[in-house]
């Protein structure tokens, strides 16, 4: 269970969000560009500190302005996928997937074994020694996901997970992604601009407007709010 209350002064407005995601639940975050969606992910994963607030994940407090707790990003065990995937360009596929394990005190044979298993599960074994610069959008997405999932994260944050994937491959990738998230059994937040993502990945839909939660409910409930301009155009597509 993730629960977030975070306030941070941004350039144009004050971001002030309160939300919670249960284990095995996927929350889809939608909103205009610049509404603060990616910022929310960065606040949760520890790349950006909130001005004040409290973030807890399971039993752990990750951030608390009251108790002066701020767990550094590297100790939060959160899988954070960036929109561009941010695969390390100077490493091969398997080196990318092994990166997080190598940062922990895992022995070399164990790293090799775990990485090989993860690559096989993600259908990436054939690409193990390929430099990531040669991959397609869909392959990159799978490598980024493998790199995060191999560490058994306690929370998954996905920023536009399918935006860089070929249109034709998107449906299959979306289904695969949904299965992976379900199997992981952890809270998950997906930021997206895509209605299909929202409908197929999300258990709950949350609309962000200028840094505030404007609506939070099941996809049907939120998408039913046709009086809202963003929802009208989002669901109308």
């Amino acid at each position: 269970m993730l629960s977030v209350h975070a306030v941070r002064r941004l350039r144009d407005f004050v971001l002030d969000v309160t939300l919670s995601v249960r284990c095995g639940e996927t929350l889809v975050l939608v909103g205009e560009n610049g509404a603060g969606k990616s910022t929310v992910l960065n606040l949760i994963s520890g790349l950006l500190p909130p001005d004040r607030g409290e973030i807890t994940l399971g039993e752990r407090t990750l951030f608390s302005s009251g108790e002066r707790i701020d767990v550094p990003a590297e100790h939060r065990s959160i899988g954070h996928l960036f929109q561009s995937y941010a695969l390390f360009p100077h490493m091969t596929v398997s080196e990318n997937v092994a990166f997080g394990l190598r940062c922990r005190k895992v022995t070399r044979p164990e790293v090799a074994f775990t990485v090989a298993k993860q690559l096989a599960a993600m259908h990436l074994s054939d690409l193990a020694d390929v430099n990531v610069g040669r991959l397609s959008g869909g392959q990159r997405q799978r490598v980024a996901l493998a790199r995060a999932l191999v560490l058994d994260p306690e929370l998954l944050l996905l920023d536009e997970p399918l935006a860089a994937v070929d249109m034709r491959a998107q449906a299959a990738m979306r289904k695969e992604l949904r299965d992976r998230i379900r199997n992981a059994g952890i809270p998950c937040i997906v930021v997206t601009h895509n209605l299909r993502d929202a409908l197929e990945l999300g258990d709950r839909l949350c609309l962000l407007e200028e840094g505030r939660v404007a609506a939070d409910g099941t996809p049907e409930e939120v998408l039913g709010m046709r009086e809202n301009g963003f929802i009208a155009s989002f669901a109308g597509r």
Partner: protein, 280 residues
């Protein structure tokens, strides 16, 4: 010239040629300027090779003054480059990534040796580390004297060559997308691991070319060295100093040393080109 250009334009118009009016004389002018400039740069360098026979060159290579200068230069320039890289890399990384009060001042200070005349650097180092210098007087109490030793050669080289590395390193670090560092942190990498496994490898070609340039500058250092370290064969007489000294007696030795430096300079340019081309 204007009238010829005009006539050419008319010619072009009359023959219905492509619209290249006035380009030919301009191209000619640029070609002449370029040729003159290239001649101006290459002729002196070529003259070095033309003024000495191969036998004389090989003979002077065996002379102690040449050998001493060559080995001293290579050793000191290597040591000072290592020192510059060791101190300059963290400084460049911090200045590229962290904002702190006084960062602009630090940047200006690290750039200072580039604009400072070497003679000024030499006397400044002497005033700091000389026997009666600001720091030197205390070192002297412990029997440590730096001025006019090989250590002084290294210090002078570090002083003048450090900006070449630090500037390049900082620019290369700034060119690394922060997203990779962020991704590495969420995967559990400590700041040190991020620097060693992500930022430095991604900035690698820039760091290497910066170090090469810094090495070249250290190798050519003359003014600060002769003032702060003196001109003692085998101890502080680096190649440029040896050229200056031997020129007054044994011109062949001076030319041989110069040729070696020319070859090294070309190697430096080639190395920088090769390293910077292989960007990741």
């Amino acid at each position: 010239m204007d009238s010829t250009r005009f006539r050419q334009e008319r010619e072009v118009l009359r023959h219905g040629g492509r619209v290249r009016s006035g380009v030919a004389p301009l191209t000619l002018l640029i070609a002449v300027l370029l040729a003159l400039f290239l001649l101006f740069v290459t002729l002196p360098v070529a003259s070095l090779f033309l003024r000495i026979s191969l036998e004389a060159f090989l003979r002077s290579l065996a002379e102690p003054v040449v050998l001493d200068a060559l080995s001293l230069s290579l050793v000191t320039a290597t040591v000072s480059t290592a020192i510059v890289v060791l101190f300059g890399t963290p400084l460049a990384l911090v200045n590229a990534r962290r904002d702190y009060p006084g960062r602009a001042l630090v940047d200006t200070l690290t750039d200072l040796p580039i604009v400072l005349p070497p003679a000024v650097a030499g006397i400044a180092l002497l005033m700091a580390f000389g026997r009666r210098g600001v720091v030197g007087q205390y070192l002297d109490v412990f029997g440590i004297s730096i001025a006019f030793t090989t250590v002084a050669v290294v210090l002078a080289q570090v002083f003048v060559a450090s900006p070449f590395y630090i500037r390049q390193a900082r620019a290369s670090f700034e060119a690394v997308d922060r997203l990779y560092e962020d991704a590495a942190r969420t995967l559990g990498a400590s700041p040190a691991t991020v620097a060693l496994r992500i930022t430095i490898p991604l900035a690698w070609s820039g760091l290497v070319s910066g170090a090469i340039l810094s090495f070249a500058r250290a190798l050519g250092e003359f003014g600060a060295t002769i003032m702060f370290a003196g001109n003692f064969q085998g101890r502080t007489q680096t190649m440029p100093l040896a050229i200056y000294t031997t020129m007054q007696g044994d011109l062949d030795a001076a030319i041989s040393l110069a040729i070696i430096l020319v070859v090294i300079s070309f190697a430096v340019i080639a190395a920088v080109k090769v390293v910077t081309r292989r960007r990741i």
